[in-house]
């Protein structure tokens, strides 16, 4: 039995269904990230776990106990809000201790808990300041301190890093990950940033329009997306989704990628998924991540299914650690990820290696993965 279980959860506002039957579970000490574009219902789902929104149907269980009818304060959860929601009229120490004060914890005990948390988060020197006197990163720490001090069963984070600048966001991301590793708490985390999702999570739920599109480990989500939406949403730069045709000649199947003025590229697919045979002579969406489309020298040496084809390079983007090259296949701009020192010129043709063992196929009609 999982530690957090969300079972057939539905949420309606009047006749509008915001959450359409969510089933998610998380082991103790796990880190669940709810990710999706804005308006997908991820924050609503978090609010229902917190008890700030009532649910219409289904059940939420923590440690085997149904909590969906309990008041937020009785659920043994702590929450970090996007705006940090620090009480402006109280000092940092007052903010951290407010929850304990409400539960009638004696002053001496409160002070000990504040000191302990202040030490973990290194905010000891800030305890007597007001939130308005803190920087963004310090407020973020205090908000986490207020959650940590409760020692709850479950931590909820609602886009906690989206108000920070880029550098601080990376620092705090590492800090959260370290905190999770050292304290072993169970966390549910909402974000629209897929990099945060990939780096932090032990489990990811990708959501769209109130439905979980895919639920799994970061590696599963990244390597085996169940549909076009997940494939496109996760990963940066995004997966190349190229319209293609499946050709069959005798022994095996091959993928045909159209090019505007030149001969189409034909890639033989000896290890094609079983379902692909049904799409012989039909259109599919061929998905290949930029790192699976690279210069032949940079390609995995022991990759079993490497196919090389000459491609016309339209744009080159050196990014320091890598060089991205854009070519046109099947009428779409396709991004290849090359080594930083790859010698490549825009407007020329260069051989690119397709790592076909990493390629995935989608049915253009249903947008589902072809397995």
């Amino acid at each position: 039995m999982a530690f957090l279980e969300i079972d057939g959860l539905k949420k309606r506002f009047g006749s509008v269904e915001i959450l359409k039957g969510i089933n998610v579970e998380l082991e103790k000490g796990g880190f669940l990230v709810l990710v999706g574009p804005s308006g997908c219902g991820k924050s609503t789902l978090l609010n229902t776990i917190a008890g700030l929104e009532q649910i219409t149907e289904g059940e939420i269980r923590v440690d085997g106990r149904a909590i969906n009818d309990l008041h937020p304060s009785k659920r043994d959860i702590a929450m970090v809000f996007q705006s940090y929601a620090l009480y402006p009229n109280m000092t940092v120490a007052g903010n951290i201790a407010f929850g304990m004060e409400m539960r009638g914890v004696p002053a001496a005990e409160r002070q000990a808990a504040i000191d302990k948390v202040a030490k973990i988060l290194q905010i000891g020197h800030l305890l007597q300041r007001k939130p308005s006197q803190l920087s963004g990163g310090q407020r973020q720490r205090v908000a986490m301190g207020r959650a940590l001090v409760r020692d709850p069963k479950l931590f909820l984070f609602d886009e906690p890093l989206s108000n920070l600048d880029a550098k601080l966001r990376v620092d705090m991301r590492i800090e959260i990950k370290r905190l999770h590793a050292t304290t072993g708490t169970t966390i549910v985390y909402v974000t629209h940033d897929q990099i945060e999702a990939m780096t932090l999570a032990t489990k990811i739920a990708v959501m769209r329009d109130g439905e979980v599109q895919q639920f799994g480990t970061p590696a599963e989500i990244y390597n085996n997306p169940t549909n076009i939406f997940v494939a496109d949403f996760m990963g940066s730069p995004a997966m190349n989704l190229i319209p293609a045709k499946i050709d069959g000649n005798g022994s095996g199947l091959s993928v045909v990628l159209d090019r505007e003025s030149r001969q189409p590229i034909v890639l033989p697919m000896p290890g094609a998924p079983a379902g692909l045979a049904a799409f012989k002579d039909k259109q599919v969406i061929f998905g290949v991540r930029p790192e699976a489309l690279t210069d032949p020298e940079g390609a995995e040496r022991n990759g079993s299914e490497i196919a090389t084809a000459d491609c016309h390079i339209e744009v080159v983007e050196p990014a320091g650690s890598d060089t991205f090259a854009v070519t046109n296949l099947g009428g779409k701009g396709v991004v290849a990820r090359l080594r930083a020192d790859a010698r490549i010129q825009p407007g020329t043709s260069t051989p690119l290696a397709f790592n076909l063992s990493k390629a995935v196929f989608f049915d253009p009609a249903t947008e589902k993965r072809i397995l």
């Binding site: 609010n47 700030l52 304060s73 929450m79 929601a85």
Partner: protein, 314 residues
């Protein structure tokens, strides 16, 4: 004459125009300031003059021999109607009315604003619209119905007095005025607080809920301490209105020793026995105006600021 105006000349003519603009603007401002301050000035200087000086001298001139006698007389001797005990009793009547009325209406307004923005219920906009209606009702139209209600409350007070030996203040003129001012101030105080709390971050209330704070704990510990600007606005507004009110005061406490300051002042000025003592009248009027002046001077800074905050976020 050159066809091209030199840049230097352009700049100097621009400066010139700006100076003239400044003079016109400040001149007008000064004119209006004098216009509004003149009566206050006349009241002040007159209240420190002797009657001889008033009758023979210039209205605007400063007193030759300043005297506090008119103030002392206004405070403790002046006649209001037939009783000649000064303004002090009526001054305290007003204080006893205005303090509870301001505190209660402000607190209830804050509570209403809190519920109307953070604990929304079905039909909350309708309730708010109806409360706003209280701001537009002409007070003359409620004089008679309110008199009937106060009469019933008074009779209920007598019943309570007979049953328990204590009337709980029902039927007392000051209590009646507090009640009336709370009821008719509620529309305004609710409007102020609702607009202020509309822009108050809801995440703070959510965080406090997760922290285990109750409805009233959130109100007392989170909302009120962060509402200082709007509390100041509401207190100034209510204090000035209630202190200066003449209509309700004269209708429900218009005679005897229960009169508030405004009614008493009117009676003092209208009492005609012999010479009109302008200096005493002016001193009495100054005493009547002083509390609102003090409130403005002390908290006026917040008044403008808070009024703006409420206005833009509406």
């Amino acid at each position: 004459m050159s066809a091209i105006t030199s840049p230097a000349r352009q700049a100097s003519s621009g400066m010139h125009a700006r100076t003239i603009n400044r003079i016109v603007i400040y001149g007008l401002l000064a004119l209006f300031a004098i216009f509004y301050l003149m009566p206050l000035f006349v009241m002040l200087v007159t209240s420190f003059k002797t009657m001889d000086e008033i009758q023979n001298g210039n209205m605007l001139s400063l007193p030759h021999a300043p005297t506090f006698a008119p103030w002392v007389k206004a405070w403790s001797e002046v006649c209001s109607g037939l009783t000649c005990v000064g303004m002090k009793g009526y001054f305290w009547n007003s204080i006893k009315m205005v303090v509870p009325a301001v505190l209660i209406s402000t607190l209830l307004g804050a509570l209403n604003g809190y519920v109307l923005t953070k604990w929304r219920f079905r039909g909350h906009t309708l309730v708010f619209a109806m409360m706003l209606f209280a701001c537009f009702i002409p007070f003359q139209s409620v004089l008679l119905p309110m008199a009937t209600i106060l009469g019933s409350l008074g009779r209920f007070g007598v019943t309570l007095q007979n049953a328990t030996g204590f009337n709980f203040g029902l039927g007392n003129s000051t209590v009646n005025l507090v009640f009336v001012h709370v009821v008719y101030g509620l529309g305004f105080t609710t409007l102020f607080f609702r607009n202020y709390y509309e822009a108050f971050p809801t995440e703070l209330i959510k965080a406090a809920q997760v922290d285990g704070a109750s409805f009233f704990q959130i109100f007392r510990r989170i909302m009120l301490p962060n509402s200082l600007p709007i509390i100041v606005v509401t207190v100034i507004y209510q204090f000035t209105n209630i202190w200066n009110d003449f209509l309700f005061a004269s209708a429900y406490a218009g005679s005897g020793d229960v009169m508030p300051m405004t009614v008493a002042l009117n009676n003092v000025v209208n009492t005609s026995t012999g010479v009109v003592e302008y200096n005493v009248n002016m001193a009495a009027a100054m005493i009547a105006a002083l509390p609102t002046l003090i409130v403005y001077v002390v908290a006026g800074r917040y008044f403008v600021r808070g009024l703006m905050a409420g206005a833009v976020k509406g």
